[in-house]
């Protein structure tokens, strides 16, 4: 009856999980991305929190449902349940905390064990504003990401640097994977999409800028 209540006005719904050690800034990344908030004094997450934001990628409205999981060890048992159905994941570490970077490996293996095989994964070095406390050189993290076929971004939720970019890259990657999958399945779609392909790939940049500026207004 009143479908508006349930917001069906998107083309895709992607579930994305944020994982990483406690205190690396997952919750603030999320709040920065979804509500443009930053809370200096945020408490450690209990269990899981959600937030969604709809963005446009290649002309499609994509609703990203982001699960912000607790990084603390004691919630580890529950967290594995959160991976189910996730099509994307961001492994977050704190560039000033080497242990959080080292643990990325554990997170990665845990993710690979629990999530779908073709889940898109991004590695995020958060707190890039703490450049003077940096414990993880960028190129090392980048290499690590490359070897494991992860997207890589260094972000600062505090300064709102690259946060949008990181999520957008991941969502775009997921979308491309999903749409490619569809193309493989049905030829009818192929013909419709194929000619669009090249033109679309050029357009995102201006779109993105527009989006960003729009966001800034809010």
């Amino acid at each position: 009856m009143n479908n508006e209540d349930y917001g069906y006005d998107y083309d895709y719904l992607f579930k994305i999980v944020l994982i990483g050690d406690s205190g690396v800034g997952k919750s603030n990344l999320l709040s920065r991305f979804t509500t443009n908030d930053f809370n200096m004094e945020s408490k450690s997450t209990i269990g899981v929190e959600f937030a969604t934001r709809t963005i446009e990628v290649e002309g499609k409205k994509i609703k990203a449902q982001i699960w912000d999981t607790a990084g603390q060890e004691r919630y580890r048992a529950i967290t594995s349940a959160y991976y189910r159905g996730a099509v994307g994941a961001l492994i977050v570490y704190d560039i000033s905390k080497p242990s959080s970077y080292e643990n990325c490996n554990h997170w990665l293996t845990e993710l690979r064990e629990n999530a779908d095989d073709n889940v898109a994964v991004g590695l995020i070095g958060n707190k890039s504003d703490l450049d003077h406390l940096r414990a993880v050189p960028t190129d090392e993290a980048k290499n690590f990401a490359q070897e494991n076929q992860l997207l890589f971004t260094e972000t600062s939720a505090l300064k709102s640097e690259n946060v949008d970019l990181a999520f957008r890259e991941l969502i775009t990657a997921i979308y491309q994977m999903v749409s490619k999958h569809q193309v493989d399945l049905g030829d009818a779609n192929t013909q419709g999409n194929a000619p669009k392909g090249p033109t679309i790939s050029l357009t995102p940049a201006p779109n993105e800028n527009k989006k960003k500026s729009a966001n800034n207004c809010c």
């Binding site: 200096m40 490996n105 504003d129 190129d139």
Partner: protein, 779 residues
């Protein structure tokens, strides 16, 4: 006979002749008639002859006609036949048509039936779906409502968990404090390392070197004023360094605190330009310090300074020469241990770093660019980090201009310096949600500005909690200040430990100032020379966030010490720490202060009967209430910061302070006597208390027990204090002799050090400040 006969015969003959004559006449007459008749007949015959002809004609005609007629008859018959046939055909057709019509009718009828049925079916179906739909929507709404309530519940539960966490954390802290004596062993090992004196154990205290209390921070110094000015103009400028024209904050920080520490002018590795610009780069955040490889940081984390086994390192030093050389094989148990733990944790993480994960730290051979350190003997002396100076292009891209090797010592110093500026920049970003200060309000006449500061100060000094709003509304300040003076004691004085709460910051600006003080002191410590700032207690200090009302109060600080021992994880959550702290306090001091305070308070509170009633009525019960029912208000806030510190020391200090305020003196005395009693009791229980402290971990929830333990502990530690209770100088002196106190007195010492040292610190600070001002005047 015969004679008659002749007569007779003549008579007969005459009669016969007469008869015959008559006959004749008659025959003639008949003849004539006959003839006439004949004539007539002839005539008739003659006449009949024409008729005969005519007759003949007619006869012919007749025949002809007859013939024709027969023809016609035949024709007619034929036609009739045809007609009959037609008729037959027609009837047949008719019947067919009828049949068809019938059929059609039937068909249409069935068709309509069918259609009707279908329509009916469809209607039924749609009705059913509609029903179902409606039900589903209803269900959906139900689910939504349910979800909402569940979410609400979840939120509540999470809050509860958080409170529990914070509680347990606080009690953990209490425990660590309580366990200080238990830690004698550990302390021993530490002391071994630090003093490099082997055989003896349990001698030196292993607590923090010194840790001032948050409540002891001063807000009446010139630099704080500059800080306010800095905040006032901050929104107007793009960059924090632009504030230099309006506030001396940056200049003073750089000249008085940073330059003396960094000594950039002596830095051999920097070009002369960089020597001048490096600080500016740091102010702008264009300096990055990073390890050559992430491995290095792992290394440093692994050896956690207290664990550092210097002797063994000394022994194995040679092998430490760096540059990828295989990790010092001989290098001591610590390294191997570390490698051990690392290898277990890094089994899978082969590719995290550019170097194999089991490789030794990667270092540079060049001298440290800042201090010229060039020793290659120990890993700890090596240049494991590089400093990168960057420049930012107009489009925001950052490029690295230069890199310099740094030694551990300088890394810490540079990092702490950058931390200060990063913090100031974060103020610019608004993350601290600072109250608004206007330059005019700050600098309007010396008296006004002073009044602002002093007002804050006075608020702090008295146990009064004025709302933050007062500070925000500068216009009303003077008025409010007056009000404060009047009301100062009314608002929400927690009966227990009034003095300890006195200095608690109430505004985010003050919290920010405390954070700045902390960063400055950390810089100072790096200058003094410590291995690591990470294992120091760094209570997280953050802005007050007003949440759902009840919990708003306490600043997020969990631990109060700027440099302390205790656990570091103190998550910053507001409510929890307060609650916990409260609990601790409660358990610690409960009997002592409650009664006397209640007595003394009424007088002060007379202005505001309501609050007074609440508070006064409480007595001991109040304590319980507060602890149990997260009392929403400021009491918590205030109590938070000091609770951990609540060792007998603070109490004593309070007493001192109280003595100055006459009204409380009675209270103090009461406390003293109580304490002394406890001392006596507890002295015998020292050993018990140690055991108890261990068990206290298990009894996390039971705050009461904890409280008792604490009491005992505090009682035991009281002895040394009573001696020194009088003058601050005494305290400060004792503080400076770090080593002296026995491990059991650690807590006491620490707290004392917090207070007294901070004071002495402030004095010296004010001195330097004065000098600075003087110098400026001279100029």
């Amino acid at each position: 006979m015969s004679e008659p006969s002749e007569v007779e015969e003549s008579r007969r003959v005459s009669t016969q002749i007469m008869s015959l004559s008559t006959q004749l006449i008659e025959s003639i007459e008949r003849q004539s008639t006959l003839e006439k008749e004949l004539n007539q007949a002839n005539k008739i015959i003659e006449g009949h002859g024409g008729a005969m002809q005519e007759y003949e004609k007619l006869k012919k005609n007749f025949a002809e006609l007859e013939k024709r007629e027969s023809n016609k008859d035949a024709q007619l018959n034929k036609l009739r036949e045809e007609l009959r046939k037609q008729k037959e055909a027609r009837t047949e057709a008719d019947s067919n048509a009828d049949k068809l019509n019938h059929e059609v009718e039937e068909l249409t009828a069935s068709l309509f039936d069918e259609a009707n049925n279908m329509v009916a079916d469809a209607r039924k179906a749609s009705h059913a779906t509609e029903l179902r739909n409606a039900k589903l929507v209803e269900q959906l709404h139900e689910r939504d409502a349910l979800l909402e309530t569940l979410n609400l519940q979840l939120r509540h539960l999470k809050k509860v968990i958080q409170t529990l966490d914070d509680d347990s954390m606080a009690s953990e802290q209490v425990k660590t404090l309580a366990n200080a004596s238990d830690n004698a062993n550990l302390a021993a090992s530490l002391s071994k390392n630090l003093s490099s004196s082997h055989g003896r154990q349990i001698e030196a205290p292993l607590g923090p070197i010194f840790s001032p209390n948050i409540t002891a921070v001063r807000y009446d110094l010139g630099l704080y004023h500059e800080f306010l000015k800095f905040l006032a103009v901050l929104p107007d400028y793009q960059d924090i360094k632009d504030t230099a024209s309006d506030s001396k904050l940056l200049r003073r920080l750089v000249n008085d605190e940073i330059q003396p520490v960094l000594k950039l002018e002596n830095a051999s590795g920097l070009g002369w330009i960089l020597k001048r610009t490096l600080v500016n780069l740091m102010i702008e955040g264009l300096v990055a310090v990073e390890p050559i490889s992430g491995l290095n940081e792992m290394h440093q984390y692994g050896y956690a300074s207290p664990m550092l086994n210097q002797h063994s390192k000394m022994g194995g030093n040679n092998s430490n020469s760096l540059e990828n050389s295989p990790a010092t094989t001989s290098n001591t148990s610590t390294t191997t241990k570390r490698n051990h733990s690392r290898s277990s944790s890094m089994t899978k993480s082969l590719n995290l770093f550019n170097y194999p994960s089991d490789s030794p730290p990667v270092a540079l051979r060049e001298k440290c660019a800042i201090c010229g350190e060039c020793r290659d003997d120990l890993v700890e002396h090596a240049r494991l980090h590089i400093l990168k100076t960057q420049s930012r292009a107009d489009d925001g891209t950052v490029t690295v201009n230069n890199t310099f090797p740094l030694c551990k010592y300088c890394v810490l110093k540079i990092r702490q310096t950058c931390e200060i500026f990063a913090f100031l920049r974060s103020l610019k970003l608004g993350a601290w949600k600072l109250e608004k200060v206007s330059l005019t309000s700050v600098s309007k006449g010396d008296s006004k500005e002073f009044s602002q500061v002093s007002m804050v100060n006075s608020n702090e000094d008295k146990p009064n909690r004025d709302s933050k709003k007062e500070n925000r509304k500068t216009a009303r300040k003077s008025f409010m200040a007056g009000m404060n003076a009047l009301n100062s004691k009314n608002t929400t004085v927690t009966p227990e430990v009034p003095v300890s709460q006195a200095g608690a910051p109430t505004t985010n600006i003050q919290w920010a100032w405390i954070q700045l003080c902390r960063l400055r002191s950390m810089l100072h410590w790096t200058h003094i020379g410590i291995w690591n700032v990470d294992d120091c207690i760094t209570s997280k200090i953050g802005p007050l966030v007003i949440n759902d009302g009840s919990n708003n109060a306490a600043g997020k600080t969990t631990t109060h010490d700027i440099n302390g021992s205790v656990n570091k994880d103190g998550s910053s959550s507001n409510e929890t720490p307060t609650g916990e702290a409260y609990g601790e306090k409660h358990s610690q001091v409960p009997p002592v202060p409650s009664t006397p305070v209640a007595a003394s308070e009424p007088a002060n509170n007379s202005n505001e009967p309501d609050t007074f009633d609440f508070e006064a009525g409480g007595d001991t019960p109040i304590d319980d209430q507060k602890t149990k029912t997260e009392s929403p208000k400021k009491e918590k806030e205030h109590s938070t910061p000091q609770k951990p510190t609540h060792s007998p020391e603070t109490i004593q200090e309070e007493k001192e302070n109280i003595n100055e305020d006459n009204p409380r003196s009675s209270e103090v005395e009461e406390k003293k006597t109580e304490d002394e009693k406890k001392e006596k009791k507890n002295s015998s229980k020292i050993s018990e208390s140690n055991e108890n402290s261990n068990s206290s971990k298990e009894l996390l929830d039971n705050l009461d027990k904890l409280g008792e333990q604490l009491k005992e502990e505090s009682g035991t530690s009281e002895a040394p204090q009573t001696n020194g209770n009088g003058s601050k100088n005494v305290n400060s002196n004792t503080n400076r002799n770090n080593g002296s106190p026995s491990p059991k007195k650690k807590d006491v010492q620490r707290h004392r050090s917090i207070k007294s040292v901070l004071q002495s610190d402030n004095e010296s600070a004010s001195n330097t400040e004065d000098q600075y001002d003087d110098a400026q005047e001279i100029q």
